[in-house]
Symmetry: C2
Subunit: 344 residues, 2 copies
């Protein structure tokens, strides 16, 4: 077994890849929410000058990638790989969003865990000397997701209160090798110091309006595995961030972790519960989608790390691996989670 691997499912980076820049693009409702001021592009429309919702989502991805590139001062031709994906069938937002960047592409799908998968693969490609600079990118859009998984918005269907609201947003990060960007001790630098890669976890939940419950076991499995692999009780972390478990999923996660005497209540944050104002904004059970974890990471979370409010976090976006077909055929909703350790 390689010395880079720790425990069963984790990797530790001794010379960690550096996040040199990040950017977030958010839709109207998200921009009006409590995190609005942290987004690079806070839009007052969800169309982003596209002709339809799918094009809007593609345009968000391109804006996020271009903004992150601008902030990094790299051009697209300096980038070795882009590791990107979204929720739409055949990764449509990515395929059409980023083609003009002309960067070699690895398309990835991990449902709402996609940003975790993208960061994990990118960190290994960089640490292993296969790339010097990689862009990680993902998105989701309320209207494209409703159209694909539920009903087109024009139908005006009613959504149950247990349903989450798919976040309209896109997040991008430029990750580089420490060989290119040496750590400047006078400057805060964000580094990816470890990863824990998730397995598919299926506890038999079948309700597509209760995705928190479907994904909580995957988050539990990942956290439990991370604790063993890194031999930690999480006292060395400032925050354990989950993607979009919502209230129901969060409570299930706490209960499951109790069986292993792991307590993260005091340092846990679920992006889905922070992206909207629960009192003022009608977002039902909170936010979800690839964009939820992505804009929260590339907005308030990394901001808190840049000003050293937080020095070490475990970022665990969670995904529900259902399709538009699977739950109509009576299938369960398997979950997956990918953990990424980020240190300032």
């Amino acid at each position: 077994m390689s010395e880079k691997r720790v425990g069963k499912q984790s990797i530790v980076f001794n010379d960690p890849p550096i996040i040199v820049s990040y950017a977030s693009v958010a839709g109207k409702k998200e921009s009006e929410g409590p995190q609005g001021k942290y987004y690079d592009i806070a839009s007052d429309t969800d169309l982003f000058q596209g002709k339809n919702w799918e094009e809007a989502e593609s345009r968000m991805q391109l804006m996020a990638a271009n903004t992150a590139l601008e902030k990094s001062s790299f051009k697209s031709e300096d980038i070795d790989y882009i590791v990107a994906g979204d929720l739409l069938g055949q990764l449509m937002a990515t395929s059409f969003g980023i083609k003009q960047l002309e960067i070699p592409l690895f398309g990835v799908y991990g449902a709402c865990s996609t940003m975790g998968e993208s960061l994990a693969l990118s960190a290994m490609l960089i640490d292993g000397n296969y790339a010097d600079r990689v862009v990680c990118l993902t998105s989701s859009h309320f209207a494209t997701a409703e159209k694909q998984f539920r009903f087109p918005l024009g139908y005006g269907n009613q959504r149950p209160l247990s349903a989450t609201t798919t976040v309209t947003g896109s997040g991008a990060l430029v990750v580089t090798s420490p060989r290119c960007n040496k750590v400047d001790l006078n400057k805060t630098q964000l580094r990816i110091t470890g990863i824990t890669t998730g397995k598919i976890v299926d506890y038999g939940i079948k309700d597509p309006n209760n995705m928190g419950a479907a994904m909580a076991p995957a988050a539990y499995d990942l956290i439990s595995c991370h604790a063993k692999d890194f031999n930690t009780d999480f006292s060395d972390y400032d925050c354990v961030v989950t993607g979009d478990l919502g209230m129901v999923g969060t409570n299930i996660l706490y209960d499951m972790l109790k069986t292993e005497n792991i307590s993260i209540e005091n340092i846990h944050m679920d992006c889905g519960m922070h992206v909207y104002d629960r009192k003022k904004q009608d977002a039902h059970s909170g936010g979800s989608g690839c964009g939820c974890a992505a804009i929260t990471l590339c907005g308030p979370i990394l901001k808190k790390m840049m000003d050293k409010t937080w020095k070490k976090i475990l970022f665990i976006p969670t995904g529900a691996l259902m399709s538009t077909v699977s739950f109509h055929e009576g299938n369960t909703i398997p979950g997956i989670a990918h953990g990424v350790v980020i240190e300032a």
Copy 2:
């Protein structure tokens, strides 16, 4: 720039990852075709004892992975990662097919180029010491693809002669580190010696019944880039394998390569033109789908390499990055291709 990188988009492995085993599972029509005798599981039904087509495709993936694992003598708990994907929205065949294997998963999507993407990422994860053993897996199924991209089979719709037939099949490979399996000079071993990663290439083709034309520019771009990166005129290759360009796409590819004075006609093979008997089997313009390149690679191609008929190939599955929504919205069909050099 890292010394592992060659040229703009390629990686060379000095201590190449080893393909220790591979397996192919094929549907009825494929099993009756000219390559039938090369498949590990040649089925006389397309349902594979599933209750519906999606479940059938999931079962194929599990059978392919399990057969490859058996042949490798590894168990699923010995495997560090599985890098897998398929054509269905939200990678449904993978999500439901492999959950019982309980292997950390990187879900990937590159349309019909998925096996190339999976092999490329797996080779880097192994060569970089992040994994010792990885399973690469993909599939496609005629009935699930028709249902998703065109019409459910029950409608009995007519398909134009220019349309390809999505292959019902799944291929799996177990790739390991040379650190675990030393090269035995008395035994043929298959090794991944290099990769060239593709960009999205879009020449504006809009006809979903002419995917060969949509993907040919991506294959051209990849081959042209590979020639420059590896400084080769392909005289050192026994075969350049494309995935599913068909007759139309193949001719376009040859014409495009002529503009750069690259000639591969004598050593080129397109899996889509070999998977069915063009005279006896009504497969319209040939085979396509992730499964087409996968079962041809994990069937006749690697067989030819094991008996040293071929010693070095460039495997380039090509993908059409359209979705069920995109072409109805009048979008083009962007293509992508991923190249993998395999040597015996």
